[in-house]
C-alpha cells in the first residue's frame, strides 16, 4: 500500500514537473525516462532471466534508425514509424536471440556483443542508406513534439505504459519461469520449462522495449548516429542496473536517473578542471568496478540492508 502511494506521488511530481522547473530540466527528465525504459528492459534479461547481454544498444539503435529511416527515406507518417520501430527491433532481437540462447552465459555475453558490433559496423559503413559516421540529421517530427513540454508528456505516458506492461510480464507465470531459469537452469528444465524457448521470448521482449526506447530518443536530438549502437551504449543500462539494484523492478529506473544526472555533472566537472575532452567512460567504468565490490545489489540492496538492520 505504502508503495502504491509512493508510486502515485512520484507520478504526480513527474506530471507537475514542467510547471515547476526550467525547460532544461524537463528535457533532462525526458532523457531519464527514455533511459529508464532502456534499463528496465535490459534488466528483464539481466535481473530476471540471468542472461547478461552486452549488446542491447543494437536494439536501441535499430529502433532509432528504423524510425528515422522510415520517416525520412520512405516518408511514412511519424506515428507509423514509431509503431514500427520497436517491432523491427524485436524482429532483429528474435533473429540474434535464436542463435544466442543456445549457449551458456559466457558465450551468450560474447555473442550479444559480437552481433551488436556487427550491426554497428554495418550502420557505420553503409553510408548510402544510414549516412555512416554522420548519421541522419533533421528527422522530421510532428510539430507538437518540437515543444519540449509536449514531448515530455508523450514520453512520460509511453514510459508509464511500457513499465506497466513489463511489470505485468515479470509478475506473470512467464516471469516466474524466467526467475527459475536464472536461479537453477537444470531444475527449471526438469520442471518442464523449455529454456531456449523462454529465453528467446525474453530476449525478443527486451529487444522490443529497447527499440521503443531508441525510438523515443529520436525526437530528443532530431537525429540518429551510429554511436547509438556502439558497445559503450550497451554499458549504460548495465551501469544503471548495477547502480539502482538488480533485484528491484524499478531499481534500474532509479539508476537511470542517477546516470543521466551524473553524466551532466561530470561533463561540467571536467570542463571546470579545464580539460577539453570529456572523460565519461572512465567514471562509468570505475563506478561499475566499485559497485561490484561494495554494493553488488545496488542502491535498492543497500536500502533493504538498512531496513533489515533497524
Amino acid at each position: 500500500m505504502a508503495r502504491l502511494v509512493g508510486l502515485g506521488a512520484l507520478v504526480a511530481v513527474l506530471i507537475a514537473l514542467p510547471a515547476i522547473v526550467p525547460a532544461f530540466y524537463v528535457q533532462l527528465t525526458t532523457e531519464i525516462l527514455v533511459m529508464a525504459v532502456f534499463s528496465v528492459a535490459t534488466n528483464l534479461l539481466f535481473g530476471y532471466a540471468g542472461m547478461i547481454s552486452f549488446g542491447q544498444a543494437a536494439y536501441y539503435g535499430i529502433g532509432a534508425y528504423t524510425l528515422a529511416l522510415l520517416v525520412m527515406t520512405v516518408g511514412v507518417p511519424f506515428a507509423v514509424g514509431f509503431v514500427a520501430a520497436p517491432l523491427v527491433a524485436a524482429l532483429f532481437a528474435a533473429i540474434v536471440g535464436f542463435f544466442c540462447v543456445r549457449l551458456t552465459i559466457i558465450y551468450f555475453a560474447m555473442l550479444t556483443l559480437g552481433f551488436a558490433q556487427l550491426l554497428y559496423s554495418i550502420v557505420f559503413q553503409w553510408v548510402s542508406v544510414t549516412g555512416g559516421d554522420d548519421g541522419l540529421h533533421g528527422v522530421p517530427i510532428p510539430d507538437a513534439f518540437h515543444q519540449a513540454t509536449t514531448y515530455y508528456y508523450f514520453t512520460l505516458a509511453t514510459t508509464i505504459v511500457s513499465l506497466g506492461v513489463m511489470w505485468r510480464i515479470v509478475q506473470s507465470p512467464f516471469g516466474y519461469a524466467l526467475r527459475a531459469i536464472r536461479d537453477n537452469r537444470e531444475r527449471a528444465e526438469f520442471n518442464g520449462v523449455n529454456l531456449r524457448h523462454y529465453q528467446l521470448i525474453a530476449f525478443t521482449i527486451a529487444g522490443f522495449f529497447c527499440g521503443l526506447a531508441g525510438a523515443l530518443f529520436v525526437p530528443v536530438n532530431k537525429a540518429v548516429f551510429p554511436n547509438l549502437l556502439f558497445w559503450s551504449k550497451s554499458a549504460e543500462p548495465l551501469f544503471a542496473i548495477l547502480l539502482g539494484g538488480i533485484r528491484q523492478f524499478l531499481g534500474p529506473a532509479v539508476g537511470a536517473a542517477i546516470f543521466i544526472l551524473l553524466e551532466q555533472f561530470t561533463s561540467k566537472f571536467w570542463y571546470l578542471l579545464g580539460l577539453k575532452s570529456v572523460y565519461w567512460p572512465i567514471v562509468m567504468g570505475s563506478v561499475i568496478v566499485i559497485l561490484i565490490f561494495t554494493l553488488p545489489r545496488g542502491l535498492a540492496g543497500l536500502l533493504a540492508r538498512v531496513r533489515l538492520a533497524r
Binding site: 542463435f99 552465459i105 555475453a109 559503413q125 565519461w280 567512460p281 570505475s286
Partner: protein, 280 residues
C-alpha cells in the same frame, strides 16, 4: 597470426581461470600505444627502438595484468559469472579512457625496422618481410606455449588446475599464485600481439573492442580453452576475412559471423573444444 597470439592468451586465461576477459583487447591496445611511446622516446631512427619496444611493452603488460588480477579478479572468482563479466567490462571502459587521456585521439603509427621493411620473393611473388617475421614469431610462440604446457612441470600444474582446482590446492600447490601467473602470461601474449601489431597499421582508440570481437569469433570457432583450436580458428577466420574483403569489402565482418553461427549450430563448443560443463 596476431589474432592467434591474442586468442591463445584469451583462451589460456579462460581455460585456467574460467573468466572471460573482455579487457583482453584493452591490454593489446595499451601495448601498441606503449610501443609507440617507447619508439618515439628512443627516436624513430634508432635501429634498436623497435626491438626494445617489442620486449618492454609485453612485459609491462604482463605485469599490469598480474596486478589487475591481484587487485580485482582474485576477489571475485567465487561470485556469480555476471559480476565477473561486468568487472572486465568496467575495466574496458576505464582502460580506453586512460589511453585517450594519455595519448589523445589522434592516430599513431610506428615504422617498421629497416631490416624487416623490404619484400622477399617467395615462389615468385613479393611478400613483405614483416609478414614472414610475424608468422615465424607466432609459430615460435605457439611452439613455446605447447612446450610450456605439455613438457614442463609448470605446464602440468597449470593443466591440473584447469582440471580440478580443489584437488590441486589439496596437494599443496598455491593455486592463487598459479592464477596470477597464468593471467600475467595471457596478458603478456596480448601485449606481444599489440607490440607486433604496432608497425602494421595505425594505432587507434577503439582497436580494443574491434579486436576483442574478432578474438571472440576465433575462440568460439576454435573452441574455448584449446590453444590448438585458437590456431585453427585464427587461420580460418583470417582467411575468410581476407577473402571477404576481396569479394564484399563492406560486409566482410558479416561473413565471419556467418561462419561462426554455422559452427555454433553444428558444434556449439567449437571445432576443437570440449562440451562445456555447466558451471562446474
Amino acid at each position: 597470426m596476431i589474432l592467434f597470439l591474442l586468442a591463445s592468451g584469451l583462451t589460456l586465461i579462460f581455460g585456467a581461470l574460467r573468466v572471460l576477459n573482455f579487457a583482453h583487447g584493452s591490454f593489446y591496445m595499451i601495448s601498441a600505444y606503449l610501443s609507440y611511446a617507447v619508439v618515439s622516446t628512443l627516436g624513430e631512427s634508432s635501429v634498436a627502438s623497435f626491438w626494445v619496444a617489442l620486449v618492454v611493452a609485453p612485459i609491462a603488460i604482463g605485469i599490469l595484468g598480474g596486478l589487475v588480477e591481484l587487485a580485482f579478479f582474485r576477489r571475485i572468482y567465487a561470485r556469480e559469472l555476471e559480476y565477473q563479466l561486468l568487472l572486465t567490462y568496467g575495466l574496458v571502459l576505464i582502460f580506453s579512457d586512460v589511453v585517450r587521456f594519455i595519448w589523445g585521439e589522434d592516430y599513431r603509427s610506428v615504422s617498421r625496422p629497416a631490416i624487416l621493411g623490404g619484400r622477399a620473393l617467395i615462389a615468385g611473388k613479393p611478400v613483405p618481410v614483416y609478414i614472414i617475421f610475424l608468422i615465424v614469431v607466432a609459430g615460435l610462440i605457439g611452439a613455446g606455449l605447447w612446450l610450456l604446457l605439455y613438457r614442463t612441470k609448470l605446464g602440468r600444474t597449470i593443466r591440473a588446475v584447469v582440471y580440478d582446482r580443489h584437488m590441486v590446492a589439496a596437494l599443496g600447490i598455491n593455486v592463487p599464485r598459479m592464477y596470477s601467473l597464468v593471467f600475467a602470461l595471457g596478458c603478456w601474449l596480448a601485449g606481444l600481439a599489440g607490440g607486433l601489431m604496432a608497425p602494421m597499421g595505425s594505432i587507434t582508440l577503439g582497436m580494443d573492442v574491434e579486436i576483442i570481437v574478432e578474438c571472440f569469433v576465433v575462440v568460439v570457432v576454435g573452441g574455448m580453452g584449446s590453444i590448438l583450436g585458437a590456431l585453427l580458428g585464427a587461420l580460418l577466420i583470417g582467411e575468410i576475412y581476407a577473402f571477404g574483403i576481396l569479394i564484399v569489402p563492406r560486409f566482410a565482418l558479416a561473413a565471419l559471423f556467418f561462419v561462426m553461427t554455422v559452427v555454433l549450430i553444428v558444434r556449439p563448443w567449437g571445432l576443437l573444444g570440449k562440451p562445456e560443463k555447466e558451471r562446474a
